[in-house]
């Protein structure tokens, strides 16, 4: 057997819907029934189980390590350390190569991988890990992000110096208008560490091939970027690794960094046996990066009538021990530090630092999420200081098409923010509290109130997110489309390396192929590296980028098909499986023109080019696209106990063009829920560099009783640069729901609330 059980196969896309329809997704029913094959379900005969020894300390030297006892255990096939890494000893995103595959003489965060074991059974592997003896020299962890950024005497965390990135933004001249401000408001805001909390833990299978290479089956977000790191570390060329995306149980950025890929590869190459690695829930909390915690200091000066004259901002982001996505997180926070507001004078200083706190990197909306909580809190504060309501103060300062961002980049596409706010304000309010069912009340079935102490509040939030990669990065996507007659019916095979992480991408790919080729039957090839890169399933970019690539490849197939129609027609289109001439009507069925042939075209799709941020001023046309979402939150707060029930979240979002309404609404619901989680419950609690709640018992994510029904208003103002005019949609709602919920809690309680997640004790102190 060379193919594992439950490995991905070609799937026929269900339904017959094209662009704008909502065909069902192929994985939906399977997931609901518990039958979907996730990467943790892979199995192959003769496989061994890999396991990872991790550091209990956030900062320590490894004085000595003895693997002898572990290696001698029955059923143990290999025990590997950094000495056994075949190639480069470090990996890392963005060519930083600063993260050891396995710790080399020291550890820099709790949970850092130190050694690997391959054994016949996971329980034997677990015991072997316990048998590895390490003599530690435990050091005081470096956990003070502020000192890491500003104190030159603070010890260095790793070889790369602090800060990992400092990015200033200078627009206009803050000093020149400081004196003219009639109203000045200041605030210091904090965002705790949020986790992606995907349900499918890191897992996969590495199968050694006879030619010395590897077949890798993993759940990831961007396999080609994985390969750029895996190959050099394993001492293999790209051609020697065949990578297949396996069932991904959620990602949200947490799979941009490598987890078990190189480790499983090392064990497979060493033992010559297939290696399966599956993290458990606790290990998963240490197996991926989290959202950067942030400390943010804001000062806005404005006229008495609410017009902002200047913004003076400092944003401090703690990335933990290694670079991961910190450079880009800093870029987003810096460029979007004051959000979608037209502020004539802006000074933003953004720092990303190394510490021994938990490693942080990509998570849905990164950089922009943290800043959004601060700038939206500031808008409410400014409104209150000027006696202007939250919607109006935002409308007064709203950016729009043609106005510049803080980076000087002119907003080129429609951005009807003021109108969207008006729309949000005018939505009908939810019904008043019905206290007859305790599940409607804060505390729910836990019966903390029968209505006593409950006050209602309303708040607004607006978030602006860059879509696709920014700062000059060409994150192209590739698609291969093959049109042939199968069983008498014209069928398109769509092949990309794009990661379906649960967002519904493969459904959208099929819709686009149907629309562009005028057919119904579409088959999706498993995502693998048999085709060039599709870029990452992040930055809300796949419908835009891989959708764009599929569209472009389909257009090329269409042109080739038309070239085979005799008569040199120039007015052809594909409709209902037929080749149609505008002047002469139906000419032929696609099947008749194709015959036994297949037409296969591979195309690369690029977004509009962007520039970097100037190192001193942050100026530049840095973003490829912008997505905007407005939230209105209505909450009931038990002000005596500090418990919150979000009653309703209404969202107004501009998506340019609705490709699949069902999936889109799912993205808005999900992004909103994740933002709600950050507002009121989700936090990795850290003390002295150690995680105190690595479990779903104590890292809480919203349940169905926490996430309220949503009212959605979806707008379609096309972005002229994007395929179909669409805008990425997954991240903007994650930004705006957090500040909207917190604003509503402030409205109910009258408290200042400068930190998320808001905890009950913050509301009762």
């Amino acid at each position: 057997m060379t193919t594992p059980l439950r490995a991905p196969r070609e799937i026929a896309a269900p339904g017959n819907g094209g662009v704008g329809d909502s065909p069902l997704r192929p994985d939906g029913t399977l997931k609901v029934r518990g039958e979907f094959a996730y990467s943790s379900d892979l199995w192959i005969e003769g496989m061994l189980w890999g396991a990872t020894l991790r550091s209990p300390h956030p900062r320590a030297r490894i004085v000595s390590m003895d693997i002898g006892l572990a290696l001698a255990m029955n059923g143990v096939h290999a025990v590997l350390t950094h000495d056994d890494v075949p190639g480069r000893k470090h990996y890392g995103l963005d060519l930083t190569w600063d993260q050891p595959v396995l710790a080399i003489g020291e550890v820099r965060h709790q949970g850092e991988p130190i050694a690997l074991v391959a054994a016949d059974h996971p329980e034997i592997a677990r015991r072997a890990l316990k048998a590895i003896a390490i003599e530690w020299e435990v050091l005081e962890p470096l956990t003070d992000a502020r000192r890491a950024a500003f104190d030159p005497t603070y010890p260095q965390v790793q070889e790369r110096p602090n800060p990992a990135r400092y990015q200033p933004v200078r627009f206009g001249d803050v000093e020149s208008v400081r004196d003219r401000a009639e109203v000045v408001v200041t605030g210091t805001y904090e965002v705790g560490i949020q986790d992606q909390a995907f349900l499918g833990p890191e897992s996969g299978l590495a199968v050694p091939r006879e030619d010395g290479g590897l077949d890798l089956y993993v759940a990831t977000q961007w396999m080609h970027n994985d390969l750029k790191q895996i190959g050099p570390c394993l001492g293999l060329t790209d051609e020697q690794i065949h990578m297949t995306l396996s069932g991904v149980g959620g990602a949200f950025g947490g799979r941009e960094d490598l987890s078990m890929q190189i480790h499983a590869g090392m064990l497979a190459l060493r033992t010559g046996r297939p290696i399966k690695i599956v993290y458990n829930r606790e290990e998963s909390f240490f197996g991926h990066v989290h959202r950067h915690p942030a400390e943010m200091r804001y000062e806005y000066g404005a006229t008495r009538d609410g017009r902002i004259l200047y913004a003076d901002v400092e944003i401090l982001l703690d990335g933990g021990a290694y670079t991961s996505a910190t450079l880009n997180v800093v870029g987003n926070a810096a460029s979007l530090g004051v959000g979608p507001y037209a502020i004539p004078n802006v000074k933003i200083d953004t720092y990303g630092v190394y510490t021994n706190n938990p490693p942080c990197g990509a998570m849905r909306g990164f950089g922009a999420v943290q800043a959004c909580f601060a700038y939206e809190s500031m808008m409410d504060k400014l409104g209150a200081a000027c006696g202007i309501d939250p919607v109006t103060i935002r409308q007064i300062n709203a950016a729009s098409q043609g106005t510049p961002l803080a980076t000087g980049q002119i907003i080129w596409a429609p951005l009807p923010m003021a109108e969207m706010l008006e729309q949000a304000r005018r939505l009908p309010m939810p019904a008043p509290l019905d206290a007859s069912d305790i599940r409607n009340l804060p505390g729910g079935a836990s019966q903390t109130t029968h209505g006593e102490g409950v006050r209602r509040g309303v708040g607004y939030g607006v978030g602006l997110k860059n879509i696709c990669f920014s700062e000059g990065y060409d994150d192209y996507s590739t698609a291969r489309v093959r049109l042939e007659v199968i069983g008498g019916v014209a069928t398109a095979l769509v092949h990309t390396a794009a990661a379906e992480v649960g967002q519904g991408l493969v459904t959208v790919e099929a819709q686009i192929a149907r629309t562009e080729l005028g057919i119904e039957h579409v088959v999706i090839h498993p995502a693998d590296n048999g085709v060039d890169s599709a870029g990452s399933s992040s930055a809300s970019r796949q419908t835009y980028m891989t959708g764009g690539a599929v569209k472009t490849a389909c257009e090329a197939v269409r042109q080739e098909l038309f070239a085979r129609v005799p008569g040199g027609h120039t007015d052809l289109s594909l409709v209902g499986g037929k080749i149609v001439s505008e002047s002469m009507g139906v000419l032929a069925a696609i099947e008749d023109v194709l015959g036994e042939d297949a037409i296969e075209e591979t195309r690369r799709f690029h977004h509009h080019p962007t520039t970097g941020m100037d190192k001193r001023t942050g100026q530049g046309d840095t973003h490829a696209q912008l997505g905007l979402c407005v939230h209105r939150a209505v909450v009931d707060v038990d002000v005596e106990l500090g418990l919150v029930k979000v009653v309703e979240l209404a969202a107004v979002q501009d998506v340019g063009k609705i490709i699949n309404r069902l999936s889109l609404e799912g993205q808005i619901h999900g992004g909103t829920a994740q933002g709600l989680g950050l507002a009121v419950m989700e936090e990795i609690v850290v003390r002295d560099g150690k995680v105190r709640n690595p479990s779903f018992t104590d890292y809480l994510i919203p349940t169905i009783l926490d996430m309220p029904p949503m009212r959605l208003e979806i707008l379609e103002n096309a972005d002229p640069r994007a395929p179909y005019g669409l805008r990425g949609a997954g991240e903007p709602p994650t930004l705006s729901s957090t500040p909207a919920v917190v604003a509503a809690i402030r409205d109910a309680t009258g408290l200042d609330l400068t930190r998320v997640p808001v905890r009950p004790e913050h509301l009762t102190e």
Binding site: G453, V680, N693, L705, P760
Partner: protein, 271 residues
């Protein structure tokens, strides 16, 4: 069997034991599967008391004993998810003896008695003598929990639990109150705010002395009751909440639950 292998961990629903095994917290020498003992799955009424087998799951307590043991049924409703309530049992809660177990406060407030059995015979342990320390109970290594005994509610009972999520949450702290009008007495139980579940004894004594069972609730009595309940706790700061917040929340829950119970009691008398 338990006497022969005292290290064996009894398992019923597995909602606690299996989690600890999966996460490598405990690796017991043996598991003793109680699911093969049908007697544990039944409840019966004997001499005016309910004897509820240790294996009766929460879902059955909610469905079948909600009227007779309302405080416990309310607590059962707050346990985990529907799947957990299908499997989890009061017996398991007692076996784990976690201060955060949801059953404990209503068992304390309702004067439950725990029936434990061994090869040597049966012991009846009042709930308030059962909890000895963090996850330590009066259960001896050779004993198993057979059942708990509780009298049907002779007055209104309420359970209230603070968590930072509106469902599926472990208690930050919890409180149960049970009015015993025939004895002119109020029972209490505090959860997750001390090394063990415990009664607020001074608060109970205060009510026994100060409560006028013929009158409306005196706000001053209510306030003092809340204070005494909070004072009865010895909470800690942990990842789920601070000690100060727990004391504060207990006072609020104590006042609210007593008010609800009192209003019910007055309504019944008025009717």
């Amino acid at each position: 069997m338990k006497a022969g292998t005292p290290g064996a961990v009894p398992i019923q629903g597995g909602t606690d034991v299996m989690v600890e095994i999966n996460f490598d917290v405990h690796r017991p020498a043996a598991l003793l599967d109680l699911n093969q003992v049908p007697e544990l799955f039944t409840w019966e009424r004997i001499d005016g008391s309910y004897r509820v087998g240790a294996g009766v799951p929460y879902v059955q307590i909610i469905a079948e004993l909600g009227h007779e043991l309302p405080g416990l049924a309310q607590a059962a409703r707050t346990v985990g998810s529907p799947q957990i309530r299908n499997r989890g049992t009061v017996g398991g809660n007692l076996g784990a003896a976690s201060p955060a177990g949801d059953s404990h406060p209503p068992l304390l407030a309702g004067d439950a008695i725990i029936e434990v059995a061994s090869a040597a015979g049966t012991r009846m342990i009042p709930a308030h003598e059962f909890y000895l320390g963090v996850k330590k109970s009066a259960l001896r290594p050779d004993e198993l929990i057979r059942a708990f005994w509780m009298k049907p509610a002779d007055g209104p009972q309420y359970f209230s639990k603070v968590g930072t999520r509106n469902a599926m949450v472990i208690a930050v702290c919890s409180f149960a109150v049970a009015l015993h009008p025939s004895e002119r007495r109020v029972g209490t139980g505090i959860g997750s705010a001390a090394p063990t579940p415990r009664r607020a004894l001074e608060a109970e004594a205060f009510l026994a002395e100060s409560l006028d069972w013929e009158a409306r609730m005196d706000p001053e009595v209510l306030r003092r009751f809340g204070e005494l309940v909070a004072a009865a706790a010895s909470p800690i700061d942990d990842v789920r909440g601070t000690a100060d917040y727990r004391r504060h929340a207990l006072a609020v829950m104590a006042r609210r639950t007593l008010t609800w119970a009192w209003n019910d009691y007055r309504k019944v008398r008025a009717a």
